[in-house]
Amino acid sequence: MKLFIGKLLLFVLLLFAADFLSGNVLSKYHLKTKNINLQNANYGFLHYDNDDILFFGASEVSHSFISSMVTEETGLSSYNLASDGCGIYYQYPLLETVLEKHTPKVILISAYQLTLEGSDYLTRIFPYYKNNEHVKQVVDDVLPNESIKLALKGYVYNSQIIRIFDGRNDNTKGYVPLEPRSDINETQNLVELPAGEVHKIPSNIKFYFIKFLESAVSSGATVYVYVPPVLEKINIPYLNTIKSITKNSGAKLMDFSTDYSLLDRKDLFNDKIHLNHNGAKVLMDKVLAKIKNDSIY
């Protein structure tokens, strides 16, 4: 039994050592990653300096908001901080981190995928847990036991390994263009969503969305809540909730959910949710016109 306990202790010791070593190696590669989603996170949480126009959201934003086009048109610097599959638990600490350094002129957040809260997506903010109090606050609130697991260095990069080593850097300031696709066809018609089911907003998500808007508005920035054009039928109860929260917070609504100049052109879409590069250009013209209309530039 003594020999067995010795072997067991050796295993535990080696496991901690391997975890420590792998955590440090992954930390280095995570900082150098060329994966656009992780790069955006690193930029927002670590390297953000002073951009004027910032876009927050998930894939419906990362593939639609062309930062370079904003700069060309307005002369203002811009960054697309959106990250595929990330909901409000990612956006809120990111905003707070950004606001500590600089107040942008415009903050836009998508209200479409706020409810993305899978553990796989929350892991994207784990690397900043130790040094970022906003991340710590959200993680401790949403996943109370996570602080214990995050003592393990390797666990910090849980589910991120493939992303860390996958990707190419095109310096697009966060924007990820999608190619047009030929198979967006007539068979992919508007899909009826079960009312109030798919896009029901859980209370904790609503809480952080309101907090996001309150922080953004009180910073002095002009804040837009973006509802994207998607080839799905609109979930009216969801949209009404978003409208009411937006109005109460003092933010402005930028609603493209019924913009048929976009919705009727399937050639502008990559799939039901994401615009392709041509669609992104059309959308940007519309977004910039709205911003101009509000005398931002």
Binding site: M1, L3, F4, I5, K7, L8, L10, F11, L14, L15, A18, D19, S22, G118, S119, D120, L143, N145, I148, K149, L152, G154, Y155, Y157, N158, S159, I161, I162, R163, D166, R181, D183, T187, Q188, V191, E192, V198, E232, K272
Partner: protein, 477 residues
């Protein structure tokens, strides 16, 4: 408290320490206290149910043992089965039946006097109910003696590694072990830890990773095309296997560490070459239970109908198995599909064997691959009905797969992580199935190879496991 929660990782070492410091004679008491603590931790009121089932089972098994009259014995057995089944029926089927009546009467603009009521299903109730029934029948059949110590009966019904999702153990195996001198030894400890490590790998790396993709697609059927749904339907059986198989390995490992041998629940089911063989390898504790207490008595009763009696017994047994899983039309269809597959095999078995022998097919590699794939696909088709969805949704799955093709929804990172897990799982099972005792890792004679293997699996769990403390699929049954 689930096996994948941090609470369990604190609870189990505490149990081991308490178990170790308790005098050998009273170690079963420690296990009983730990089991009730484990179960009450989920929902205190559930403890009442296990206590009622324990009291009733103890009382009636003692009566069965005492009385000499067969009629009285049989009466006591049926009374206890009825008492034990009552909570299961109430919590599992009352809501479904009430909702069904409610909906039917509503269609005819009539009112049902009861509102729609939804009770929280006590976790594991189907499992410990079956264990209590099995014990009662075994006492009636004089296969085991009625236990005189109520504490031991209580431990048998509530034993914490098994209470939530089995394996559905037999009194004949467990009670003598609970009464024996339970000792901790390094062989059991080492074997148990290995089983637990692999169980966690199956659950966290394989099942929970596939679940991300499966839930995204099955949870949003109207958004996805046939090709994506086809891939999901093919992945789902692996998820269910890794989930319940992983749970079972952890349960068996935990028991082993405490010096108790629990029956295996799976035996590489996806290498089966027929549905009959598949069901000898899949959820073995449930199937042997159903075979012993339902199928065999039924087949005996229907023996005058010869092969059709067997078919009838199979259909009834698997329909019951479906109802055991859930009180919905989907589960009944799932059960009847299994019964149909097995009945067809029973009907053509002789002819099939003759052809296989005539053409030497049993040793033909391609025939073997074909049989394994066919068995897998048949099971996958039936499992479409076993996902938490309506009957209409299940039909939509087939409609989309056949008529509404399209490009695959590729969640690349999720699928890549899932592929790593599935590849390792199948490689290990392929080795065990066709080349046992070769290329060993966990059981290699060289200590360094064993150590490196444990480390690799543990690190993989840490790096790519879904460590969010998610539930096991079979908790809902």
């Amino acid at each position: 408290m689930v096996f994948t929660s941090l609470n369990f990782l604190l609870f189990f070492p505490a149990v081991i320490i308490l178990f170790y410091i308790t005098p050998i004679k009273y170690r079963w008491v420690t296990l009983l206290v730990a089991s009730y603590f484990f179960y009450l931790n989920i929902e205190p009121v559930f403890g009442l149910l296990t206590a009622i089932i324990t009291l009733s089972t103890y009382f009636f098994t003692r009566l069965i043992d005492k009385v000499k009259d067969d009629k009285k014995k049989s009466k006591f057995m049926y009374i206890n089965i009825a008492v034990v089944l009552m909570p299961l029926f109430f919590f599992k089927y009352f809501t479904a039946i009430n909702d069904g009546i409610f909906n039917i009467l509503e269609m005819y603009e009539m009112r049902w006097f009861l509102p729609k009521i939804h009770f929280l299903l006590p976790v594991g109730i189907s499992f410990y109910t079956f264990m209590a029934i099995g014990y009662t029948i075994d006492v009636y059949n004089e296969e085991v003696e009625a236990e005189k110590n109520i504490g031991i009966v209580a431990l048998f019904i509530s034993f914490f590694p098994l209470i939530l999702s089995g394996p559905i153990e037999r009194a004949g195996n467990m009670i003598p072990q609970f009464k024996s001198d339970l000792k901790l030894n390094h062989t059991n400890f080492s074997t148990g830890l290995k089983l637990m490590l692999w169980g966690y790998f199956m659950k966290l790396v394989v099942a929970d990773r596939i679940a991300i993709y499966v839930d995204a697609v099955y949870g949003n059927l109207s958004h996805h095309n046939g090709d994506t749904i086809l891939l999901t339907s093919l992945l789902y059986p692996i998820q269910v296997y890794a989930d319940l198989g992983g749970y079972s390995l952890i349960a068996i490992g935990v028991s082993k560490i405490l010096g108790l041998n629990v029956m295996p629940n799976f035996n590489r089911p996806f290498f089966a070459t027929s549905m009959a063989e598949f069901w000898r390898r899949w959820h073995m504790s449930l199937i042997t239970w159903l075979t012993d207490y339902v199928y065999t008595p039924l087949a005996f009763s229907f023996r005058q109908y010869r092969i059709f009696g067997i078919v009838l017994a199979l259909m009834v047994t698997f329909a019951l198995s479906g109802i055991w899983h859930g009180a919905t039309l989907n589960y009944v269809v799932w059960g009847l599909m299994q019964g149909t597959f097995l009945s067809i095999e029973a009907l053509i078995n002789k002819r099939k064997s003759k052809i296989e022998n005539q053409y030497g097919l049993k040793s033909n590699f391609f025939y073997l691959i074909f049989s394994v794939c066919l068995t897998y696909v048949l099971f996958a088709v039936s499992l479409v009905f076993a996902y938490d969805a309506s009957f209409k949704d299940a039909l939509m799955v087939f409609d989309k797969i056949i008529f509404k093709r399209g490009s695959l929804f590729l969640d690349k990172t999720t699928l890549a992580y899932a592929f790593i897990g599935v590849f390792m799982l199948f490689l290990s099972e392929f080795r065990d199935e066709y080349f046992p005792k070769t290329l060993l890792f966990f059981n290699n004679k060289v200590f360094v190879i064993r150590l490196v293997s444990y480390l690799c699996v543990a690190l993989l769990i840490l790096w790519i496991g879904v460590l969010n403390g998610g539930q096991f699929i079979y908790f809902k049954f």
